[in-house]
């Protein structure tokens, strides 16, 4: 897939978010010429409607108001520009998007553990991630440590086959930590570049299940000191404010290093990511923008913001 295709796909996946968010901001700027209370109130609704959440929204509005005051303007011309600025600040934008992580030959395999609540798209994400690594010519082993859900292994098998990755893990009802251990063994024995370990979906409030997750992590570290090198938490873009709780609790348990935001091809805005980044400083690594195997993309914060706020015809609003 060429770069331009990727950009186009990224944009079309985000189009729905952008249409509603940006179109509405532009409309607002057109109908309200001044940054006053009414304009800010409408802006608040737009942000809230995107799942940015009350706390972060209040923060953004406070900053906007302050800047309007200190920089001495009250025209709404610069509204979308300012908004883009503030969101960028909250997302801690810095330079290039992170490439697919990889370890030097002497230290491989790179171990990635994938966690999240039920139904966010962990298994699908792993299939897509494996495919990306395969496209980059890497050898991939997948550990099927979701031993709880019925037919999770079968689902992963199919994805592994599509991606061209090897799968490690026994039949149902095996202990997930031992499956993870076995996956690392296979990864080392077969000289894999990457081992991706799937885990069963679990609500972050189930303490015993979170303990199980910690154990899986510990066991991997025991087999390969330093593993897992990445712990990815998969977050559904339709998730509301509970997303913050999810990130907090999973981070407490297994030290999440990055987020994957899935299902951005619906109408959901994924604004929770802004709140998460602002509150907890955990970066988004990948986003899922469709159901095809190549629909997972490295998260480019700048591109994300540009796509959200782009006003050019190619990425413009639908109105």
């Amino acid at each position: 897939m060429g770069f331009l295709d990727a950009v186009a796909k990224f944009r079309s996946g985000l189009a729905r978010t952008r249409d509603s968010l940006m179109a509405r901001v532009q409309q607002l700027a057109a109908t309200h010429t001044r940054i006053d209370d009414e304009t800010l109130e409408q802006l608040e609704e737009i942000l809230l409607g995107a799942d940015v959440g009350p706390a972060t929204t209040t923060e953004i509005l406070r900053r906007l108001k302050e800047r309007a005051r200190t920089e001495g303007f009250d025209s709404s011309d610069r509204l979308s520009e300012l908004l883009k600025d503030e969101v960028a600040r909250l997302l801690h934008v810095d330079g290039e998007p992170a490439p697919l992580p990889i370890l030097p030959t002497s230290q491989r395999p790179l171990v990635i553990m994938v966690v999240g609540v039920n139904g966010v798209g962990k298994t699908t994400t792993i299939g897509k991630l494996a495919w990306q690594y395969r496209q980059a010519g890497k050898r991939v082993v997948i550990g099927a440590a979701d031993t709880f859900r019925a037919a999770a292994k079968e689902q992963l098998d199919i994805w592994a086959q599509r991606a061209g990755a090897e799968i490690a893990g026994q039949s149902q009802s095996a202990d997930p930590a031992s499956v993870a251990f076995e996956a690392l063994n296979t990864g080392v024995a077969h000289d894999a570049d990457v081992v991706i370990v799937d885990t069963a979906g679990r609500l972050h409030t189930k303490l015993n299940l979170m303990e199980e997750l910690k154990k899986i992590r510990r066991v991997m570290d025991k087999r390969l000191p330093g593993a897992p090198h990445e712990v990815l938490l998969v977050l559904d873009a339709t998730t509301g404010q509970n997303g913050l709780q999810q990130v907090r609790m999973f981070t407490d348990a297994v030290q999440v290093t990055g987020l994957v935001l899935t299902k951005l091809d619906g109408t959901a805005k994924g604004g929770i990511v802004i709140a998460v980044s602002h509150d907890l400083g955990i970066p988004v690594r990948f986003i899922g923008v469709g159901e095809a195997i190549d629909d997972l993309q490295p998260f480019d914060r700048r591109a994300f913001i540009d796509a959200l706020f782009d006003q050019s015809p190619s990425g413009g609003s639908s109105e």
């Binding site: 798209g121 019925a150 609500l203 409030t205 404010q241 509970n242």
Partner: protein, 442 residues
Amino acid sequence: MFESLSQKLELAFKKLRGQGRITPQNVEESLREVRRALLEADVNYRVAKQFIDSVQVRAVGQEVLSSVTPGQQIIKIIFDEMVQLLGNTRADIATASNPPTVILVAGLQGSGKTTFSAKLALHLKSKGRLPLLVAADVHRPAAIDQLETLGQQIEIPVYADRGAGAVKIAGDAVAFARKNIRDTIIVDTAGRLHVDEEMMREVEAVKAVLAPHEILFVVDSMTGQDAVTTAKAFHDRLNYDGIVLTKLDGDSRGGAALSIRAVVEKPIKFVGIGEKLDALEPFYPDRIASRILGMGDIVTLVEKAHQQIDVEKATRLEEKLRKSQFTFDDFLDQLREIRKMGPLSQIASMIPGLNRLPANAELDERGLVRVEAIIQSMTREERQRPAMINGSRRRRIALGSGTTVKDVSRLLKQFEEMQRMMKRLSKGNVRRTMQQMRFPTN
């Protein structure tokens, strides 16, 4: 954790009382707190606004202004209004006069359709019905395997036809049910985005061939602002009869329920409260209302305790208590049972009285960790016979657990008191008493 709404409101009104007068403007101010609570609970911002407006009309009236405790009064108005909006009456699912009853299950990806289908089948089976599960999700890899495995677990037949399309499967399944004398068929469809035109057409075609008596829309209770859009889009295409709210066993406040009810006039019929296949419940609007408002949910807490506490262990414990043999080992077990229910702050937030306590008072999670550490630093013998723990042993335990001798002594004293109390309870329902008892948390 969220500050509780009642707490905020009480604070707001305390200020008012100082001023000696309550005006409509002041009421408005407190309703702003309510609005924020609703937004934090993921109630759609438009719905929240409408809701607040309707509450305001009532709140500014006489009943509040003349009330001694306006905070409580406003909460009551809000609560009642919300229960009303969520739907007062219990709605059952339809039964066909001429079987089989056909139930179609639809929703977004990952909302929990397949698990719900199995739960519903089990629920109906326990009522004497003869359900048939139909695997019409031909898109997600291994979805059919998943339903078949679940069907095996609950001993309910699953109709599948690998290679066929969803519409054909649905049509054939009805004939299959007739032939095999199944009186209810539950059709599990693929998850789809409401903006995916092709997939929406597929589910419409499935509906057309099935002519279902009941269409259920399954939605994740953690859904944010988008819940209204999705619920409405599915409703426009399928005109479903009821809503199923899943994953309510988490800590989401479930504002999506209110949002959906506001845009779609259909009842919420079931809620999913766990991964086990019997974790399905009818919908209780008052519980969700308390939850959305962050007012505590004592019923859920009791259920949680019931769910998490190991009955066998509890019975064994009861035995020990009768014989006055409660030791530190048993105490440690109890401690762990309680901690399994969730973080203390979360448990506390479900108890209406407790959420008024200042943060950290008696509920310090680390306090429990400390207690656990102290007990674990005791030898087996010490745990059985705490009386033997003298000064030098206390020093050793303190050193081993990273606490102070004072901490150890305090725990020993509390334990002693507890034991004394237990002895008094040789009769009666010990298990219940255990749940009511306060544990020392340092």
